[in-house]
């Protein structure tokens, strides 16, 4: 018998090759190498950028934001003129982005849900029509729709001068209160006179009341089984108190109607064509994706659920509301979130039609006037990142709150 002379030596001590071949250290090695590579790459890029910028004589500085901008923005939500700063211009742009994004999301949801439901309808012709709409719009670039709607507005709508005179070729709509012209849409604008604050407060209070009533009605139904006609009662709460107070307080809110004076319309709200074109194109385009999400969601609820609800004696409307939709929502919400984000990001295409969103102000005129590409684009990306992350945080929170609670 030979003694086992080549017994493995006790492994102690650290050898350099263990950094690569020992599983305990390898992951740390890889991560450190990755970090070093990343920092080298970033360092190289930043070094190049610093050298290039220094050579051009514009080292990184955000001082230009406090200089006067010197350009006008025709569509704005807050006070702004060309003597105000670039920062203010950027803020106007951000608000414009948010405006078109919010408007777009609301209309896109509305259109998308209706189209998605109609697409599922048993009515052959309607579901085909919706299919054509969905496939026709989503297979063509959004930028084309934006540019096309703008071109239609500019080329096809009448000039303001066409509304003038005895033999005017264009007419205003809705009792002379709305005008569609190639310079934009003019709609009546509410004017809040003295004493109107009561009306506004009552209106807001009635909204609160609707919310409380909804909660109370739900609780009552859960306790007693009685179902109230909540929709009609809510509608009544929405309108009646506000209208009563409006007349009691002497009609303090009036409308300013657009009227043709000289070469253009004055009075009322002036919605620029660029806003409308962008808004319509974004909503109708995004709606096709939402419609598909809705359809997939409703189809994901198994037929047994509907049949069970019918067997319990629920009417189709309540089946949809209480059984199908809550289950479908879980499938619908995640793609809907990404569509809202897409819409917000696509709103940056405003620059193609001259709507002054944040891309048009900060990333457009401010960038070109000051020549501060680096700073402007960093800020611009920061704005969009913030918006995207906020929206996805909020929507994910909402998604979690309606998620199936498994026990």
């Amino acid at each position: 018998m030979t003694a086992l002379s080549d017994q493995p030596k006790a492994k102690h001590g650290f050898r350099l090759s263990m950094l690569i071949y020992d599983k305990r250290y390898r992951s740390i090695t890889i991560q450190i190498v990755a970090l070093i590579l990343l920092f080298t790459a970033f360092g190289w890029l930043f070094n190049n950028a610093a050298m290039n910028l220094a050579k051009l004589g514009k080292p990184l500085s955000f001082g230009f934001l406090s200089q006067p901008s010197g350009y006008d923005i025709n569509q704005r939500l807050i006070e702004y003129n060309s003597t105000m700063t670039h920062a203010r211009a950027a803020l106007v742009g951000i608000l414009n982005t948010l405006l078109v994004a919010v408007l777009g999301c609301i209309t896109a949801t509305f259109i998308g849900v209706s189209v998605g439901v109609l697409r599922l309808s048993k009515n052959w012709i309607v579901s085909r029509l919706m299919g054509f709409y969905i496939e026709g719009l989503r297979n063509v670039p959004i930028l084309l729709w934006i540019v096309l709607s703008m071109a239609i507005f500019i080329e096809m709508l009448p000039r303001p001068s066409a509304f003038r005179g005895a033999n005017a070729t264009a007419t205003m709509y809705l009792n002379d209160s709305v005008a569609f012209t190639n310079r934009g849409f003019y709609i009546p604008k509410p004017i809040f006179n003295a004493g109107s604050s009561i009306d506004v407060i009552v209106f807001l209070l009635s909204l609160v009341a609707i919310w409380f009533f909804g909660r109370w009605a739900k609780k009552r139904q859960e306790n007693s089984g009685d179902i109230l006609p909540t929709f009609w009662i809510k509608l009544a709460i929405f309108f009646i108190p506000s209208i009563i107070v409006f007349y009691l307080s002497g009609q303090p809110i009036s409308l300013s109607y657009p009227a043709l004076t000289g070469f253009n319309f004055t009075g009322g709200f002036h919605l620029r064509n660029s806003l409308i074109a962008l808004w319509l194109a974004l909503s109708f385009y995004t709606a096709t994706y939402i419609a598909e999400a809705v359809r997939a969601g409703v189809q994901s609820v198994s037929k047994g659920q509907t049949e069970a609800a019918f067997a319990l004696g629920l009417r189709p409307g309540r089946t949809m509301q209480l059984v199908v939709l809550p289950q479908a929502l879980r499938v619908i919400i995640p793609p809907m979130i990404s569509q809202y984000l897409n819409l917000t990001k696509n709103s940056s295409l405003a620059i193609a039609v001259g709507y002054m969103d944040v891309t048009g102000t900060l990333g457009g005129i401010t960038l070109n006037q000051t020549g501060r590409e680096m700073e402007s684009l960093l800020l611009l990306m920061g704005v969009y990142l913030t918006i995207s992350l906020t929206v996805s945080l909020v929507m994910n929170w909402y998604n979690n709150s309606i998620k199936l609670k498994e026990r």
Partner: protein, 432 residues
């Protein structure tokens, strides 16, 4: 026994169902007029379709092909079809369709993009359709170089020497592995080709060209335009983003904290900003990040940014494919004793990529549509050209014909691709 019976001995023939219960009438009752709401919807839809057709059909038919400007065209239509006829001026398409397809690519070289497109279809055939012979994948691998050579021209030796870099990398992994260990081989496989491309490929290519001058007329990217540009940018973006996307997806699922954080940071950053800001970076900023004095043309810069953009989306799609694989596949690969890269290369990735193909096609459709954004930074894609055409005095004021044509082209491309991906999804579903 009499033959009188009190029950019927012969079955009666079946009666035809009532008229309202057969054929088109029954179908219409069930599908179109089953309830009041349904009937209203049907009538509304019919009215809508009728008014759409009534507005567009005469416009399409009463058209002019031969005019040379919008004004001329309108007069021609009025002369031919009466004073108040309005028709389409298809002449703008007749005059400009070559430009919309090829941009300012020299007309005597149109065969090159066409051949490149045909070869591209041949190259993606084996990837998209299982029935084709597997040997064709070799051609798919070579196609990027063939396509590059056909489109940009220049000496044939440049793509050949670039291809040689990959050959070097291949031999470095297979041959050197036995000599200096697998890790050394991987490092060599990365370093050697890079050294080759940076320092040797160029001189070798020009040296070879001096000896054996084979080549095509070089065409700079500034002359690319129209759908040619869209397809080139879209296809390059997708092809180049595939390997990056795979790496990012693996990194995002990795256990290594630093690697995972880097990948998540990159993916979420790219997905959080609009493509147009990245294109602004391409047009104004990218040169700043390179050593002073480096400049290269805008189409190449756009391609880089588009590739980065789509690689983030690609990574998410592939991550979905990875997540969809049953755990058993990972465990089986481990049980066979494969290391990470081997199991990924041989077991996981082939399956994950196969599952992801429909979504990858979806990304491609999105990217192809998004290539229109390059018109904002001044490239001559179909939309950029349409702006130029509408600014031309002869065609000032034209809307529907031009945009309709571009929209139709995009629709044909994207719709057929989306149908393909749906077909694929159905085919893949039968596996379960």
């Amino acid at each position: 026994m009499s033959d009188v019976s009190y029950v019927r001995t012969k079955m009666l023939d079946e009666m035809a169902p009532p008229v309202s219960q057969v054929g088109p009438i029954r179908w219409a009752r069930e599908n179109l007029f089953s309830s009041v709401t349904n009937s209203v919807l049907t009538l509304l839809a019919i009215w809508f379709i009728y008014s759409l057709l009534a507005a567009t059909l005469p416009w399409i038919v009463f058209s002019s092909f031969s005019a040379n400007s919008l004004g001329e065209c309108r007069t021609a239509i009025r002369d031919a079809y009466g004073a108040d006829a309005t028709g389409a001026c298809w002449s703008v398409i007749r005059e400009r369709y070559l430009q919309l397809l090829f941009g300012f690519y020299p007309s005597e070289s149109y065969w090159r993009p066409i051949l490149a497109l045909v070869l591209m279809l041949v190259a993606i055939g084996p990837i998209l359709f299982e029935g084709l012979p597997r040997k064709m994948l070799i051609f798919s691998g070579l196609y990027p170089f063939v396509g590059f050579f056909l489109l940009w021209g220049g000496t044939v030796w440049l793509p050949v020497t670039i291809l040689l870099g990959f050959v070097i990398a291949y031999f470095a992994t297979t041959m050197l592995g036995k000599v200096i260990g697998s890790l050394g081989a991987v490092i060599a496989a990365i370093l050697l080709p890079v050294i080759w491309w940076l320092f040797l490929a160029g001189p070798v290519a020009y040296g070879l060209h001096a000896i054996v001058p084979i080549g095509l007329v070089p065409i700079e990217s500034a002359r690319f335009g129209g759908f040619l540009l869209s397809i080139v940018i879209g296809v390059t973006g997708i092809v180049l983003s595939l390997p990056i996307g795979v790496l990012l997806a693996l990194g995002r699922r990795s256990d290594l904290f630093v690697v995972r954080t880097i990948c998540i940071g990159f993916i979420e950053f790219i997905r959080g900003v609009p493509l147009i800001t990245l294109l602004f970076v391409a047009s104004t900023l990218l040169n700043y990040f390179l050593p002073p004095g480096t400049t290269f043309d805008i189409v190449l810069r756009v391609m880089i940014m588009v590739t980065l953009f789509s690689s983030a989306y690609m990574a998410e799609v592939i991550r979905g494919g990875l997540a969809a694989l049953p755990r058993g596949q990972y465990e089986a690969a481990n049980a066979l004793g494969m290391d990470y890269w081997k199991s990924m290369r041989l077991i996981i990735m082939p399956q994950a990529l196969k599952i992801s193909i429909p979504s990858i096609v979806g990304i491609f459709i999105g990217l192809f549509k998004d290539t229109t954004l390059v018109s904002i930074i001044g490239l001559m894609d179909p939309l950029g050209l349409s702006t130029a055409i509408r600014a031309n005095a002869a065609w000032n004021g034209i809307v529907w014909e031009l945009y309709g044509f571009i929209a139709l082209m995009f629709f044909i491309f994207c719709f057929s691709m989306s149908r393909y991906s749906m077909y694929l999804e159905r085919k893949l579903q039968t596996g379960h």
